[in-house]
């Protein structure tokens, strides 16, 4: 029997009480082979940092397999709206049209003021060829907001919730 979905409501300002009690910001240990430090900031429509936000990621393993016990992590944000995660580059996963997707993370951002989480993807800057044939990136007029930037010791991926440079957000 079909059931009507429960409406979403904001996480509000106090979610760290329930959601950030335990460290869960590592898909793999920082000293694991291939570990990548991913950082970034969440910005509002005025370009101001959003400190009361939380990022969750879901990814395939390095072979491109999704495994229930591997590949999820979350991070709160500091006073500058910055999150920090440790992960590995996932392998390529089949797309919906008979090809392969470029390596990517699925990301959800939760915050006070977001009545539903926003859904986005992060792609890797050193995968130009795979990114060029990715069916999601290829369908977008401007996919630049979905590709992380290399930093000295990892990757940087900022999320702009609104306005100039607004990140591409998805529905399913």
């Amino acid at each position: 029997m079909a059931a009507e979905p429960t409406p979403s409501q904001t996480v509000g300002p106090y979610f760290s009480l329930g959601l950030l009690l335990r460290d869960a910001d590592q898909v793999v240990a920082p000293d694991a082979p291939g570990a990548i430090r991913l950082t970034g900031s969440i910005r509002d429509g005025d370009g101001e940092p959003v400190p009361d936000a939380m990022v969750e990621v879901w990814q395939a393993d390095e072979e491109g397999q999704y495994r229930p016990e591997f590949g999820w992590a979350r991070s709160g944000c500091d006073g500058d709206g910055r999150y920090s995660l440790v992960l590995v580059k996932p392998g390529r996963v089949a797309d919906a049209v008979g090809g392969l997707q470029a390596p990517h993370l699925t990301m959800l951002v939760f915050a006070r003021g977001l009545l539903r989480p926003v859904l986005t993807r992060m792609y890797f800057p050193d995968e130009a060829d795979a990114n060029a044939e990715d069916h999601v990136l290829a369908s977008l007029e401007d996919a630049s907001s979905l590709v992380a930037r290399p930093t000295g010791d990892g990757l940087e991926f900022d999320i702009h919730l609104q306005g100039e440079g607004e990140t591409v957000f998805f529905a399913v």
Partner: protein, 239 residues
């Protein structure tokens, strides 16, 4: 970057579904600078959208579901039992779904640095819990009824009493975070977060029901609240 030619993606203008809040709900002031303004791109369903993390029972502590037994003494307030089921949109139970919960204490104060409401903290109440659903999708928490509390959205603004709930479904894109309200709260009409759901029938789905059968005589009142997850419903790997 060269790209193979692709069809233009299907897009969705936000706010089309009155049973879910739109990102922009100006009465809730914090949405004004945080709501995305561009149409959402509809993703085709691949394994990235249809899979999600799973949690084992070993990761849940024995008292994680009982917010009244996490300290040396008992918290003040009206003891409550909250039970319900997690279902997918086809009405099927979602088993081993992780539910995380947080709430204010009976006086309407959160155990959180940012909360400046001059109501007392309770040394015997943190207000956080979690559990996994069983094979029928059932969950059970024991807590105290949270108090209403003021906030600064507009003059004399008060949140109706509520419990925050976060749920992981079978797929990561089934993630739900919501708030459970209590029947008959006089603050409903004045709360822009509750009212952000425009469909009154959908708003009713945010309110738990008093549940006499589950009530424990001379111990605690009970409320029931089912959680129905939207989003993709395909199951690539039956777990």
């Amino acid at each position: 970057m060269s790209r193979r030619t692709a069809q233009k993606p299907r897009t969705l203008v936000d706010g089309g579904d009155p049973a879910q809040p739109a990102y922009l709900h100006p009465d809730y002031v914090s949405t004004r600078l945080r709501a995305p303004q561009r149409p959402l791109i509809v993703l085709p369903h691949t394994e990235s959208e249809l899979t999600g993390p799973a949690y084992g029972h070993e990761s849940i502590g024995e008292l994680d579901h009982d917010l009244t037994r996490q300290h040396a003494g008992e918290p003040l307030g009206e003891r409550i039992i909250v039970t319900g089921r997690v279902l997918d949109s086809a009405g099927r139970p979602v088993r081993s779904a992780l539910i995380e919960l947080w709430q204010a204490n009976a006086a309407g104060r959160y155990h959180h640095d940012v909360d400046r409401h001059p109501a007392p903290l309770d040394p015997n109440f943190t207000g956080a819990g979690r559990c996994l659903t069983d094979d029928e999708g059932r969950y059970r928490f024991v807590s105290v009824k949270p108090g209403a509390y003021p906030w600064r959205n507009h003059p004399n603004a008060w949140r109706p009493a509520h419990i925050h709930l976060s749920i992981f479904g079978r797929a990561f894109t089934n993630r739900l975070v919501t708030q459970m309200y209590f029947p008959g709260d006089p603050l409903f009409a004045f709360d822009p977060i509750f009212q952000s759901v425009r469909d009154p029938k959908a708003r009713e789905r945010l309110i738990c029901s008093f549940d006499l059968e589950t009530t424990e005589p001379e111990w605690a009142l009970a409320y029931s609240f089912d959680l129905v997850l939207g989003g993709p419903n395909e199951t690539p790997l039956e777990r």
